[in-house]
Symmetry: C2
Subunit: 398 residues, 2 copies
């Protein structure tokens, strides 16, 4: 692997393509915060705002300032998102965040699940780290606590459940996102929680309930006790990109703990198993959903190629290579990197398409929606750049 | 158009392929009611039951008895679905129907919207027509009233709204389904409602709020006063197959009223406009979603080809041809019929695939899910067979 060239590829794409695209087209100069529903050329398709994306882009910009040095434009854009969150994204009636608001902050929609809080926590923690503003630390801790409380007790939701208690289940998204935000809070030294204990508990839940060695698989949805729900679509549907994202959160923890062998083994196994299940041997790229037993899932668009599973797989394979030195991870990284960078980037208007057909042709040519915004792609580029630098530094000091 | 051959095509496919497939694989001999999540060969993928599909298949079977003559197997299968609905599909706590139950009737999920009631109404009305059982008429009228009450006043839902009042909107699904079930209740002589008035009111709402002649378009979602929501994805997203289904409900009313000119004009305009917007000139077939202004919609699978829009377009073009005699409708019917029958039927195990990629290749090879069951395809075959017979009879008597 030519690590120096790869580092430049990530850094250049981030600083000269993806970030400028979103800073040019995604900032709302009137009301603050971020637009994300952008057409191929950056023009606005829908002026509504995703609360997830307010938190995610503010995190990205704050984190970039921390890694690449504070830049006035990035800092001011980060603050714009945080201010918009403070002013418009929390329902004063119950203290819970909206999911979707109008450009001026008028609320449109709330959801049962509290991932809005999770991404707002990320943003506040990262901004606290660069600014030292105490209120950001308090806000981050509070959003974490809300996310955790609702994960542990869904009955806290203002919405009655639509699912009965007949077949209770849970998804890997809860513990993996909790793990990721706890890592971010620890890195920012947010007071008020024992972040190591949070991290350990979430990794333990992923390992005991979602990682199933008997079938070499990471499940997306399981019964409350971690057993498999084999006879129904929900229980049989795997999301390999999601499991690979969880794998790199764990590999990142292994690295933080100086190359912890058990966590490295857990993370690389999760990556290996889900790569095998998710890689499309016919057209290349990573399938969105696959059935655990090879039979059909219910989703009709299961075989589409989305940007983010590919971004997560690039990070996971690069981290696995950094941690283990095994050449096969360099080969896997090259495989997913080459496929992604051949198919997703838009040669005409910059940035990446998000939604490809199975064969790699573009399905939806927009650059953003309420779901796709400036998060997975620039996060991959920022982390890829960092990891490559670490590898180079390690080589030089050998 | 060779009407006699077409009639045989529909009748043979219904009686020798599609219906036998579902009677063989879809009946639950243990608990009653219908499975719908079937793999390509008919084997069970998920034993849960869709409440929509219980009503829809019981309607289909009852209607078939009425048209083709009562057959013991069809009648007993219809009763099985009706009994399952009676015993398991209504929540005794609030009198509202579930959306999704386990095979033994244990409830899994309720939804805000009351389309479960709409399809249960259809089934009870059609069964009343063949059986004369009074309780079926009462049940049909009650389900209609519940559906209508919740359409008019969503606050009746046991679930608080997830959408705020910031940008109220409504979908064409409400009035078009109300129109269809009112027609079915009138045909069955269900007492207790003025069905003509119901039908008139729903057609009036479709025409005034969803049909927009200034842009020659049938909108899927509009503001409460029928104005367009141009600046947001939801308001710009068209569903041509859905609008074409609404068109044939209106054409059916035109036929019922002896060829009513105004309704014929309304229905054929809706068909013409949405055919133009929905037909895929590159690969053939009908696109699932298109943007009103040609810009991207938010759905990434917008360009897939689903079975049911094609079924609705076959019915609509055939009815338009029957009513107007215009040759272009015969040509449109041949166009959608040829594309559909080339791409959807499974030559190996019978029945039709439901979910194709834009280019017509199969995406999901299953024969059913909680959404695809024995409804649109056999309804098209049954109605096509009937309409062809009417056309032949009319020719003979000329």
């Amino acid at each position: 692997m030519d690590v120096s060239t790869l580092r430049d590829t990530y850094r250049t794409a981030l600083l000269e393509d993806v970030l400028p695209f979103w800073l040019k087209h995604g900032l709302d100069s009137e009301h603050g915060g971020y637009f994300s529903s952008l057409d191929r050329d950056g023009s606005l398709l829908d002026s509504d705002k995703s609360v997830w994306i307010q938190g995610r882009f503010a995190w990205l910009l704050s984190n970039l300032c921390q890694i690449a040095g504070t830049n006035g434009q990035w800092l001011s854009a980060a603050r714009s998102g945080l201010d918009f969150i403070d002013q418009h994204c929390v329902d004063p009636a119950d203290g819970l965040m909206w999911f979707h608001v109008a450009k001026d902050g008028q609320p449109i929609r709330k959801r049962r699940y509290r991932f809005s809080e999770a991404f707002a926590c990320l943003a506040n923690a990262a901004y606290y780290k660069i600014s030292g503003e105490e209120n950001r630390a308090v806000t981050a801790a509070n959003f974490y606590k809300t996310f955790k409380a609702h994960q542990q007790n869904p009955a806290l939701s203002p919405f009655p459940p639509k699912f009965t208690g007949t077949r209770p289940s849970k998804g890997i998204g809860g513990p993996m996102i909790a793990l990721n935000i706890a890592q971010t809070c620890r890195a920012a030294a947010i007071p008020g929680m024992d972040w190591d204990a949070e991290i350990d508990a979430n990794i333990a839940e992923i390992q005991s309930d979602f990682v199933h060695p008997d079938i070499e698989c990471v499940m997306e949805t399981v019964a409350e006790d971690g057993s498999r729900i084999d006879d129904h679509f929900d229980g049989r549907t795997l999301n390999p990109g999601h499991a690979i994202e969880a794998a790199w959160f764990i590999l990142q923890e292994a690295k933080f703990r100086g190359g912890d062998a058990q966590l490295t083994k857990l993370g690389t196994q999760m990556l290996d198993w889900m790569w095998k299940r998710g890689w499309d041997s016919e057209y290349g790229g990573i399938l969105y959903f696959v059935g655990v037993d090879g039979r059909p899932v219910q989703e009709y668009w299961h075989d589409m190629k989305f940007w983010w599973p590919h971004n997560e797989a690039e990070i996971a394979t690069l981290l696995a290579w950094q941690l283990t030195g095994e050449e096969r991870y360099a080969a896997m990284h090259a495989q997913v990197h080459d496929w992604s960078w051949q198919h997703f980037p838009d040669p005409e208007h910059g940035e990446w398409f998000g939604y490809l057909h199975r064969d790699g042709t573009v399905s939806n040519p927009s650059k953003g929606t309420l779901w796709k915004g400036p998060f997975h792609i620039p996060r991959m580029m920022l982390m890829g750049w960092q990891i490559c630098e670490e590898i180079e530094t390690a080589k030089e000091t050998k």
